[in-house]
Structures are given as structure tokens and as C-alpha cells.
């Protein structure tokens, strides 16, 4: 072997005898491995911000241009369901954070419980979302699929929403732009839901591994990094809730 690699750190060679089984060999220490994967997750979340950023840009521009249409569209969303979903996700972030703590403090049963609660709350979110989506489908507010502007041209034909907001009818050329609002609604919440589904899938996998004690023996990186991902998905939702559901809701 080339002997011009003069010195080596003794720590590396002696640590080799006692290195944890999860330490991958290209890392010098468990700290380095944990540090690197943590940094990688933060960087990945930054790419996600840029990914959603394009949608937020389109939203900002069109909301600025077509505010009345966005108001009318937003009034079609059920703020109770939306707020409930927001609470569900915030609660799931709490249970996820508790899960990370359990992993760090080697509480296997606690970890499984917390992950399972997070899983259930995630499913609850998706359930409520599908109820909302179903309502949109029934009212023909899905762009590209027999989209109907009736509720905006004649708000009184939609008694529930009218009773709450007493919106004035939109002119036809403004009503056309409600389709843009709903396109962005489905795109943004749909993209978010996709990330939720992926997260729930990984959660399922994690629950099985957690039961086997994989994360409570000192190797918590996976749970910690997944927690970051889950919190990120939660934060995106909070922005979506504010931007999509809360346009001009004051009395």
C-alpha cells in the first residue's frame, strides 16, 4: 500500500473495533454520519421549498391580478375543515417531536405509540382532505373536469356559501379566473397531499422498525430526519391554509 500517506488518526483505527453496527464504513465516526445525514435532510427540505416556490409565485401573481375571483374561490372552501386539518397537523407534529424524544431517550414503547399517533393523525388529515375534494368534485369546481362557474355568476344558487358571505355575483370575465384559483388550490394541496402520503408510507415502515427496536438503541438519525421532513410538510400546510382558505374572511 502506498506509504506516503504519512500519519493517520489513531482514533479511526481503534474505533474500528468498537464501532456501532449502523456506522457505515465511509464515515469516520457516528457523529459524522449523524451530522452529515441531518445536514442532507435540511438541504433536501430547501429543495422542496424551491419546488413549492414556483407554485407560490404563480399564486401571488394571480391573486394580485384577480383578487375578486380568489375571494370567491376561497369562500368555497370550508374553513372549519381547513382549521381542523391545521390542528390535526400541528398535533401530529407534536406527536412526532415526542417520538423523536422517545427515540433519543430510548423509550421503545413510547416511540411506537408516538409514531402510531402521528400515522393516525396523518391519515385523518388525508381523510378530511378527501371529504373536501369530494365536495369540490360534486360542485364541479375541478378545473378541466366540467368546471362550472355557476356559483360565482349567481352566488345565491349556492345557499350555504351565500348565507355566510353574501358575495356579489362576479362578472363572467372575472368568474373565468376562479378556475385559476382552483387550479392552484388543487395543485398546491395536491402536491402537499402527495408529500403527506409519502410521509405516511415512511411512517408505516418506521413503526415496524421501531417495534423491533431499531431506533431506540442509540441510532436515532432516521427518526430525527424524518421528523424534520414531517415538520416541513406541516409548515407548508400552514402557509397553504392561510393563503387558500383565509382570503377575505372577515365579516
Amino acid at each position: 500500500m502506498p506509504d506516503n500517506l504519512v500519519h493517520s488518526a489513531d482514533a479511526a483505527s481503534s474505533a474500528h473495533d468498537e464501532h456501532p453496527p449502523y456506522l457505515r464504513h465511509h464515515f469516520n465516526s457516528a457523529e459524522q454520519q449523524a451530522d452529515a445525514s441531518n445536514f442532507a435532510m435540511w438541504l433536501f427540505l430547501l429543495t422542496e421549498v424551491m419546488f413549492f416556490g414556483g407554485l407560490f409565485t404563480a399564486y401571488l401573481i394571480y391573486r394580485n391580478w384577480y383578487f375578486p375571483a380568489f375571494v370567491a374561490g376561497s369562500h368555497q372552501l370550508n374553513v372549519v375543515w381547513g382549521a381542523t386539518n391545521t390542528l390535526v397537523l400541528i398535533l401530529s407534529s407534536f406527536t412526532m417531536a415526542m417520538g423523536v424524544w422517545c427515540a433519543e431517550t430510548r423509550r421503545r414503547k413510547g416511540l411506537v405509540l408516538c409514531l402510531s399517533l402521528t400515522f393516525i393523525l396523518g391519515l385523518a388529515f388525508l381523510g378530511i382532505k378527501s371529504v373536501e375534494y369530494r365536495e369540490k368534485i360534486e360542485k364541479h369546481h375541478v378545473p378541466g373536469f366540467h368546471y362550472s362557474m355557476q356559483s360565482f355568476l349567481d352566488p345565491q344558487s349556492d345557499p350555504e356559501v351565500y348565507a355566510e358571505y353574501h358575495d356579489k355575483p362576479l362578472t363572467p370575465d372575472m368568474a373565468v379566473h376562479t378556475e385559476l384559483y382552483f387550479s392552484l388550490y388543487f395543485l398546491m394541496t395536491g402536491m402537499h397531499a402527495l408529500h403527506m402520503i409519502i410521509g405516511i408510507g415512511i411512517l408505516g415502515f418506521m413503526i415496524l422498525r421501531a417495534r423491533a427496536g431499531a431506533y431506540t438503541a442509540g441510532h436515532v438519525t432516521f427518526v430525527e430526519n424524518f421528523g424534520l421532513y414531517w415538520h416541513f410538510v406541516d409548515i407548508i400546510w400552514i402557509y397553504l391554509f392561510a393563503l387558500l382558505y383565509l382570503i377575505s374572511r372577515h365579516a
Binding site: 384577480y66 362576479l170 362578472t171 363572467p172 370575465d173 372575472m174 373565468v176
Partner: protein
């Protein structure tokens, strides 16, 4: 640019035009742009020569055979500063010079004569105010500022006249403008330069520059008797615009006489100058452009009217301030008069100002 020595200027223009590297200079802006291009080529040549000389001479002087031991030189802040500041300075000169030309090209003078151009797959349709229509060609006079108002009926196209050194995208959904003043009679290339599908390379034509007399003759030969504004007037009537836009005191829509160029206050509170884009948008998306004091009841004509139709309407409304247009009969061969610059913008459209037909 007129303060350059005329001898040098002549030489530059002649040399540049005959070098075969540039198209003929047929507009007022062309020599100005060529001067900047020439400057940039010069700077680039000098820069490239400097780098080439340095690299060559270092390669010879410090060839391994001649200079077997390298001297480790860390760097030199002075040199770094030099080759940061000098390129930056040169680039900034180009930036300013170029920005001046850019603003010049895209700020039409107030007295420019307007020609509408509609691009569609795969042809250019030019519409002169006198009603002359051209396909894949554009006739313009020398000595007169000509503004092109461009729009596309379908995809992005780009209207390019290399001899004039002007180019502008024609996009669907909004007007874009560019202007030039042709200086040399002749026939020059017209290209579409934004890839637009199968026959993109066939979307080419001729720009024919005529003397003012020649242009007058051409106008007379090519007219079909109806000016754009007269066409617009017919459309205005057939679409029942006058039902709301008339001079009556209880009219549901604002009177459109003199509205072009006026400063309007919108129902949303903002102010806007009623230019071509505003007029077009008011026809296609009226509820966002309602003048203060009026209800948003105007229906949209999106989908019911072609871009040529909109152009005709816009041209009609633009000319609702002049007796000349309204009393026009069949003499469409005269050039439209130089437009008076609006001196005092009106805050709201005044009612019943006179010359509008009921």
C-alpha cells in the same frame, strides 16, 4: 451620435455596411446600434488579443526547457483589482450605452404612425390605419416614425427586421410595441425569429421601404376603401356597443370620445392611461377596467372577436377625437395626420363632447 466626426461616421457606416458582416443599415437606429456593436467587437478583440498574447508569451518564456523551475507566485491584489475594475468598467459602459439604445427603440415618439401587426401560425398580417392589409410584407415610408403594435393570435412569434436592427416578440394576450424610422428605400428581410412550430422558417417576408410619394401611391393602390377605423365603426355598431357607450347623459357606459390617451380613474381607485392595451383589455376583460362611477355590467367579448376585430375597434376608438376620421368617406389614401400630443390629461371622460355618432 451626431457629434462624432462626420468623416469617421461616414467611414464607419460605409465600412460596416459593406463589410458583409452586418445587414444594410436602413433605419435611423441602425447606425447607432452598429456603432455600439463595433465598439464591443473592438473591446473583445483587444481583450482576446491581450489574453492570447499573455498566454503565448508566457508559454514561450516559461516553457519547461527554458524555465525548468517554477517560481511560486501567490497572487497580486493589484492585478486582481485591475482585471476586476477594468472589465467591469468596460461592461458598465456597454450597459449604459446599450440601455440608451434599448430605451430609444422601445419608447415610440408621440407622433409615430401606427401599424398593427398580427402574427399567427404561420404568417404576418399587417394592418395600416387606412385599411390596407398585407400578408408577410410591410410597406413603410422613409422619414416618418412608424410604430408597430404587435400581437399574436396563437403562440409566441417574433417580428424581426434585421436591416432596421429591430425585433419584438408578438405574444398572445397583450400588445407589444416597437418603433423605427426607415431611411433607405429598398426591400429588406422580415423574419419570424421565435420558434413557433412547423413552418416557423416559412414565416418570412419583405419589408418594403418607399419614399413618401411612393408610399402614398401604394396606399392608394392597396386600399379596399374601408379604413381600420371605419371597420371598427361597423363592428362597434354590429356588436351594439353604442347601446351603452354613447353621448346620452344616462348612458350606462362612459362616452368614448377623446378617451384615448386620457388618464382615467378606475372603480378600484387606481388611475390608468387609456392606451391600446387598456382599450383591448376593456373589451376582453371589462370588469377589471371599469371606470369610476360606472357599474361592472359590460359583457366580455373574449372568444367572440378576433384580434383583427379588436384592432379595428381600438383604432376606431382612438380616432373618436378627430373630425377627420369620423367624417371620412372613401379617401383613405392620405396619411393620417401627425397625432397631437395630449396636453392636459382629463381625470374623467367628459360627457357628450360632440362628434360621436349615436
Amino acid at each position: 451620435m451626431s457629434h462624432i466626426s462626420p468623416v469617421l461616421w461616414q467611414f464607419l457606416v460605409k465600412w460596416l455596411t459593406n463589410s458583409g458582416l452586418l445587414p444594410p443599415e436602413a433605419s435611423k437606429i441602425a447606425p447607432q446600434m452598429d456603432a455600439l456593436l463595433f465598439f464591443m467587437v473592438l473591446v473583445s478583440l483587444i481583450g482576446l488579443t491581450i489574453v492570447a498574447l499573455l498566454v503565448t508569451s508566457f508559454s514561450i518564456l516559461y516553457n519547461k526547457k527554458r524555465h525548468p523551475v517554477a517560481v511560486q507566485v501567490e497572487g497580486s491584489t493589484l492585478l486582481e483589482a485591475t482585471w476586476t475594475i477594468i472589465p467591469l468598467g468596460l461592461f458598465l459602459v456597454m450597459f449604459v450605452w446599450g440601455a440608451l439604445i434599448y430605451f430609444r427603440v422601445f419608447t415610440p415618439p408621440a407622433n409615430a404612425m401606427n401599424i398593427y401587426v398580427v402574427g399567427k401560425q404561420w404568417m404576418w398580417k399587417a394592418e395600416h390605419p387606412g385599411g390596407q392589409h398585407e400578408i408577410n410584407s410591410l410597406h413603410v415610408p422613409t422619414g416618418r416614425a412608424v410604430q408597430l403594435t404587435l400581437i399574436s393570435q396563437d403562440v409566441f412569434h417574433s417580428f424581426s427586421i434585421p436591416a432596421f436592427r429591430v425585433k419584438r416578440e408578438a405574444i398572445p394576450g397583450r400588445y407589444t410595441t416597437v418603433w423605427f424610422e426607415a431611411t433607405k428605400p429598398g426591400t429588406y428581410h422580415l423574419f419570424c425569429t421565435q420558434y413557433c412550430g412547423t413552418n416557423h422558417s416559412q414565416m418570412i417576408g419583405d419589408v418594403v421601404v418607399l419614399t413618401p410619394e411612393g408610399y402614398k401611391k401604394w396606399l392608394a393602390e392597396s386600399t379596399n376603401g374601408m379604413s381600420l377605423a371605419q371597420n371598427g365603426e361597423r363592428l362597434f355598431a354590429s356588436l351594439s356597443c353604442a347601446a351603452c357607450h354613447n353621448a346620452r347623459p344616462d348612458a350606462r357606459g362612459p362616452n368614448l370620445a377623446n378617451v384615448y390617451g386620457a388618464k382615467l380613474t378606475l372603480a378600484t381607485g387606481g388611475t390608468v392611461i387609456a392606451d391600446d392595451a387598456y382599450l383591448r383589455e376593456s373589451i376582453l376583460n371589462p370588469s377589471q377596467h371599469v371606470t369610476q362611477g360606472y357599474q361592472p355590467i359590460m359583457p366580455t367579448y373574449q372568444g367572440q372577436i378576433s384580434e383583427e376585430g379588436v384592432i379595428a375597434l381600438v383604432e376606431y376608438i382612438k380616432n373618436l377625437d378627430s373630425d377627420y376620421r369620423v367624417q371620412q368617406t372613401l379617401t383613405t389614401t392620405d396619411l393620417p395626420p401627425e397625432k397631437q400630443v395630449k396636453t392636459s390629461p382629463t381625470a374623467t371622460v367628459p360627457p357628450a363632447h360632440g362628434k360621436v355618432k349615436p
